[in-house]
Symmetry: C2
Subunit: 356 residues, 2 copies
DNA sequence: TGAAAAACCGAAAACGTATTCGGTTTCCGT
DNA sequence: ACGGAAACCGAATACGTTTTCGGTTTTTCA
């Protein structure tokens, strides 16, 4: 019953030392451990000859300082925590996974590895913050999560540098698309195709959701076109089933919209399914727009009309900002970084039907 | 110039101790550090009363042993390395990312975090194995990589437990789909639709590639239908552009195939693009099959005919196997685990054209 | 009641590294 | 040649754990 035994691997345990330590290196150099350490860390009080000697033999022996020992000593690990908590599919999320990929690349380029943050370790539960402290990450990126959860709030207001994506917490750094610009362009484009009955399916709560909806409504207002309450439907991001249900509501209206702006591309698939099920054609009978610009869908027919978010730039900016926050906390300020998005006029938004 | 300074964060450094240590816990309990440690680790020589006391105050103070210190001492980190190295898109890979997601979930369920393995740390290059030793991972899963690379071979033949996915190294554990069964079913299905001129676009080298091709050829042979050399084209997995080029070759043949089996779903998109560019209809003029069964494509029209690989089962099995290899090296043997795959008859394979 | 055995606890060493501080040596200017 | 300053090196300590081992108390049994 002693759970301790489960922790001890039985195999080649202390058999052969896997990695070469600084002690062996110092022995090989005929120097003390401290001098070797100083040589490797560019201390001034070591002659250039011995520094060279140490460097050379270190290379030769393939010495790497143990990340564990180093981290323990200096209090940081060169690990960035990533909170990526989505119930649907996790890493397969087709908008957030490219963001994460870019984040990871940039982090690695800057010498950081990434570590996923969960709220359990094996069977024992722990909060996100606990996990971060347990693993000693140097900072956290919150990529995709329920931002209202108390655990997330605890993490954000904790002691570690934090960068969020697509949701701004007051006084903290955030990276997001220029949602206002994106939604405005999309709406104008749809208007330019002659649509007046435009419905809008909203994603679940996040600060970007509000920005997009506001931009849509204002653009409509500027065009002098009203949007009835019934044209605004609540739904969930990245959830085709929910979008399908929302779309059904819209199709059941006495005066059906001629165009629907979906919460995102993936949701749009569900919406389009509902439309097809009603025997309607896209875009001849009804137009559909998405949001995100997932590349895979741009290779399918009909090509979705959407707003492409620059996932590469978002992830990269997040990593860069987080590293700055970690390495120069004094001179780095909190900010919200907006990266431009781009309208992709695809095949799913056509001219408004004439009879409508 | 001293690069050392870059490593020291200037901020709240030793200001407030972020996490509570065992020393503070022992003080709070009025016990020695050693006793506390033993109480937490279920040592027999500590009374149940003190054990209870320690446990209680530990919970109360929110104590977690530092992963760093613990790892340093016991020689393992409860981290699983993941080698996920694909030039195209990394984490966004639409077949491997669900595998990774399942792997991650199962690993976390068993108390392991995952760590990505690269061949550089910041600017300084290092081999995969070096990275593993540097971070002290307990084992490695090689998910997607050029298996011929010397670095990968070095890693596989290194001291750590290894599980590969979709490529078997002799004497090591591997998880893959039942490719033989999958390809056989697909081929039979295509044959049942009346096709005789079936072309095959091959992926780049891996052991599964061979198995699939062999299964295809044997099934064709069993049906008594020959496959000309020109119907077998070399291409690259997960690369629409390469598939497009390969498809062009096939379409240029004097006797064009009536069905093409693509190396995978994503590649199929490229192939279908080529076909459409030639003004041909799918599946009326020419049929197309993919492999993998990526869920997103099953929501698009036309629904791709393909073989679904059970990514969840694959990832889970890999994690389980790797953890077994780590925790019970004596009693766990190396093996290749095959998980069943499933034919999805979609809309892209139709009856063979009559005139053909 | 006494001695052996069991039960329980703490001091100390170790894991691999970074850093402070005191101690040699070398160098320079006079 | 001499004093002092620079230049260079190593012993020691600490980071937060685990684990061995010796020591004290309590229990048990003849």
């Amino acid at each position: 019953m002693s759970s301790r035994n489960r922790f001890r691997p039985e195999g080649k345990c202390g058999a052969s030392p896997l990695a070469v330590t600084i002690k062996e290196l110092s022995a090989a150099c005929g120097l003390s451990v401290s001098t070797v350490s100083k040589a490797l860390n560019d201390y001034p009080d070591v002659s250039s000859e011995t520094r060279a000697l140490v460097r050379a033999t270190a290379d030769q022996l393939g010495y790497r300082p143990s990340a564990l020992a180093r981290g323990l000593k200096i209090g940081r690990t060169f690990n960035l925590g990533v909170l990526f908590d989505t119930e649907d599919g996790g890493l397969t999320h087709n908008y957030f996974s490219p963001v994460l990929e870019a984040f990871k690349s940039e982090a690695e380029r800057r010498g950081y590895d990434i570590a996923f943050i969960t709220h359990h370790l094996g069977s024992s539960p722990m909060t996100y913050l606990e996990h971060c402290l347990y693993r000693n990450v140097d900072g956290v990126c919150i990529v995709c999560s329920k931002f209202e959860e108390p655990e997330v709030v605890e993490l954000v207001s904790g002691p570690l540098p934090v960068v969020t994506i697509d949701h701004v917490f007051h006084g903290h750094s955030c990276v997001e698309s220029e949602n206002r610009q994106g939604m405005t362009e999309l709406t104008r484009y749809i208007l330019s195709m002659g649509h007046t009955r435009i419905a809008y399916i909203e994603g679940n709560s996040a600060s970007v959701t509000t920005v997009r909806l506001t931009s849509f409504l204002r653009t409509m207002q500027e065009a002098g076109i009203g949007v009835p309450e019934s044209y605004l439907v609540q739904s969930i991001y990245h959830n085709p089933a929910a979008a399908r249900a929302a779309t059904e509501k819209l199709l059941a209206l006495p005066e059906r919209p001629t165009c629907i702006i979906m919460s995102d591309d993936y949701a749009a698939l569900g919406g389009m399914e509902a439309i097809r099920a009603h025997g309607l054609r896209i875009p001849e009978d009804i137009s559909v727009a998405g949001y995100d610009g997932v590349p895979l869908l741009q290779m399918c027919r009909p090509r979705l009309t959407t707003v492409a978010q620059d996932t590469a730039a978002i992830g990269e900016a997040a990593a860069r900002k987080l590293v700055h926050l970690i390495e120069q906390p004094r001179t780095t300020f909190q900010e919200t970084i907006s990266v431009p998005s781009r309208l992709i006029p695809g095949e799913t938004v056509g001219p408004a039907p004439v009879g409508a």
